[in-house]
């Protein structure tokens, strides 16, 4: 028999962010987004930098979380996300993310060969996803440079 809900657990090294019963969840896997419904086959994947969304029986709209790297384990009735960093939309510091975005863009645009390309592009992706989540779900006006 298939379970009719998933227990979603999101933990980061510093805290447990979420433990909730949900109907569906979308995970930002390294190789693309993964939609998970109750009864999914057991699966293990690495996470990329992206947006995790879940929907509970109570909410009509999916709730987003920013998730930055880590792992996810999918079981028929449970999804465990071990993220390096994860935040709710309301926790994101927009001005900090924008500053990080500007910094990363500047670094990538410069011709300096000494820059750590990987680090800068990760920083860029991180800032972009944070800003994107805030814009989408908070509806707050975000100034574009």
């Amino acid at each position: 028999m298939l379970p009719d809900a998933i227990e979603l657990i999101v933990v980061t090294p510093e805290r447990q962010l979420l433990r909730e019963t949900v109907l569906e969840v979308t995970i930002p896997g390294l190789e693309g987004e993964l939609g998970v419904l109750p009864g999914h086959a057991p699966l293990m994947t690495e996470l990329g930098i992206g947006e995790l969304t879940y929907r509970t029986a109570m909410s009509s709209r999916p709730t987003p979380l920013s998730v930055i790297r880590g792992f996810a384990e999918v079981l028929p009735d449970r999804v465990t996300v071990l993220a390096e960093t994860a935040e709710r939309a309301e926790e994101i510091d927009v001005s900090r993310a924008e500053a990080a975005l500007a910094r990363a863009e500047k670094r990538l645009a410069s011709n300096d060969t000494n820059i750590d390309w990987d680090r800068a592009s990760v920083a860029l992706a991180r800032a972009v996803i944070r800003i994107q989540i805030v814009r989408k779900y908070r509806g707050a006006p975000v100034a574009t440079p």
Binding site: I9, E14, E31, A41, P42, E46, F71, T80, L82
Partner: protein
Amino acid sequence: MATLLDFRRRIRSVKNTQQITRAMKFVAAARLRRAQEAALAARPFAKELARVLRSTMARIESPQHPLLAKRPEERILALVLAGERGLAGAFNTNILKTAIEFFRSKKGKKIVTIPIGKKGRDTLRKAGFEFAGEYVNVLARVDFGIAREIANLVTELYAKESVDAVYVVFSEFKNVLAPHLAVEKLLPVEAIERGEETQAEAECTQIDYIYEQPEGEILSRLLPRYVETQVLRSMLESSAAEHAARMTAMDAATQNASDVIDALTLHMNKVRQAAITKEIIEIVSGAVGTA
């Protein structure tokens, strides 16, 4: 003989000291609560990670990874977590004694240390140990970034085969009264602690997962994370233990100050009484003489 004024001065001085120790006790208590909360909050991740790692390792026939490679222990690296500050009772002494005893038990082997916390660094440097790095002022507010930095350094040294084993010497926070002094092996990663595990969770490890990436690749990403969380855990535990030790020490000091003040006050009153008595006797005997 001490005069009344001398007593008053001494009592005032002890009172001032007591105010300081009392304040330090409250500060330590507040920090302890925060440290305990942080240690508690870090637990779910460590538990889930250990579980995922175990099930991945179980799936691979003979896991190969530099961090799993066992070598004869000739060069030993030890992370020594002591306190950042003094005035914490026997906290620093105890943990450093444990560390030095441990080094002694590995006689003949090359010992390299990485002290974490100012007090540990100072003592180990004086004792003439070789450092592979040092981290001070990091335990007041334990941050995952620092734990990761330390873990990266350690794993790199191990993977380069500069050292053959890595241990962590730290105070494990068990209760407020006394920490448990622990020496744990960090690398090579050996049997991963099972912890309390339900029947259902034990069965989970047997599940045939679909792996989006090759198992070996996932393993090689999981292992460094595991080392990071172990370092983070020992830092959080040590920091909580330090605050607990300071709180206990300062509580005892405040109590002692109270005792000293009581004894001094009693003494002072006796001296005062004696002076008054003497004066009355003088007046009385003078009056008797003139009568």
